[in-house]
Symmetry: C2
Amino acid sequence: MSSSDPIDIRVCEVGLRDGLQNATGIMASAAKFAWISQAVQAGLREIEVCSFVPPKLVPGMEDAHQVVAHGLTHKDLEVAVLAPNLRGALNAFAAGAHKVTLPVSISDSHSRANVRKSRSEMIDEVGRVCAARDQLPAGYRPHIEAGLATAFGCTIEGRVPERDVLETAVACMDAGCDEVGLSDTCGYGNPAQVKALFKATRREVGEASRGVHLHNTLGLGLANACAAVEAGAGVLDSSLGGLGGCPFAPGASGNIVTEDLVYMLEAQGLNTGIDIDALLACREIVRAALPDDPLYGYVAEAGLPKGF
Amino acid sequence: MSSSDPIDIRVCEVGLRDGLQNATGIMASAAKFAWISQAVQAGLREIEVCSFVPPKLVPGMEDAHQVVAHGLTHKDLEVAVLAPNLRGALNAFAAGAHKVTLPVSISDSHSRANVRKSRSEMIDEVGRVCAARDQLPAGYRPHIEAGLATAFGCTIEGRVPERDVLETAVACMDAGCDEVGLSDTCGYGNPAQVKALFKATRREVGEASRGVHLHNTLGLGLANACAAVEAGAGVLDSSLGGLGGCPFAPGASGNIVTEDLVYMLEAQGLNTGIDIDALLACREIVRAALPDDPLYGYVAEAGLPKGF
């Protein structure tokens, strides 16, 4: 569709964060800059460019400030970042990020493993981040999202009660968030569940629930994305080439593949504003920068359908 | 779910036909027998066990009669086969198959490439097959299905008009078929299209449209399966390990993977009557018999979710 048509679904590229955090190689800053610029060229309007984490815990994110700065040079790009705590969020604010996502795991066990805090302690941390945001100078008010991790199930705890997800969503909004996102951290979600949980969350917090972060661990990533869209989701996270997201096996990407997601949406007449050929060009940048990390994707391998 | 619960969705295993036709290796008859028996043990109630084609055109189907005979030893199993023409169908009748599927391509170009007949000539052939069925002795009346190939698009012709699909469905029913199935031969379908075309076909021929045969060439196989179920489809074809279906590339299976499909359906509370662990055991039989053919599947690699 024409880039001047209104966007039906915003696709948020998370490969630079979720992908690179789980890649075997370290991507040079220059390659990150090139990837971001090419993705914007392709029509992406939201990119999670990095996470503000201690470099000794997650190598490859030392250049977070510079990567945000590069992102900010692009008009119309929402520069999103992840921060696991107040310290990271303050760094993100200092860098000028437009959006900061804080991971709030529904599963206590996962929350402790991921951010060394219980869910309840993490909600308190979200409150401190929002309070810090409220002290920022006029003219800069970054958007704070609580990313509700393990919302569809947890590899440690198994099933996660829907009520816990909804209570956490409300608690995060009460703590001052602008938005909550449902995250299928372990790839346990199924389409019926995605639809039901998204709708239930909407009933609790309204339009503040707009995004989903889906993984493809069990192969249901695109089916779940389709279900989320049907339920009313307006923002879908995905990763170029399926990079990252803890793949279990060769052929099994962890994250849903941006190129395939965009194809699926566009094929159904949903405008993403993204040019698939220009998007595919990002793969060459990533492949050159991370020669040892596999890139997944059906569209890239099979090509677009004749007549598409 | 318990095997005594009513089946919501019938999964038809087509790996022995669509899979083996496109495999690099030739599977020994004994392995086919073992696969069929294990699949029945797992709860499969319909298996497309072979195609009745000239062995010089498609090697590996010389044992079609014996494979049907083995299938018939299993109580409650619907033994389905493919036949490209009257001669093949007569052989299938002689073998005692319960169901014979004839491929009727909507795209004339694909039809000529596949069965050396135009679509219209193939519809005439379907009429001859149905007439021959009507002459069979009392007590044996095989079910005839027209498999509407390239219903969602064609690698040669590109887009395929919906009207052609509907006209062909009606013509096949008029010719005497019991059933028509929508086949996404090239993997070009998308969820919205699958839903719309399945519903439109239902409006034309009613419950005689019940099955879909989907490929995963562009990665949308499971999303499309989900859409088909939502639209009312009751039978879904799939292939163990995604075997066959003309994969374009490593990591890209052509057929949708039976194990993943069953998981997706069961996870959503839809009863298939199939035990996933018993189904996964079929993979060992196939792997041993076809050591050079890759097997795909996310569930097999990642394992079922904790608490499933």
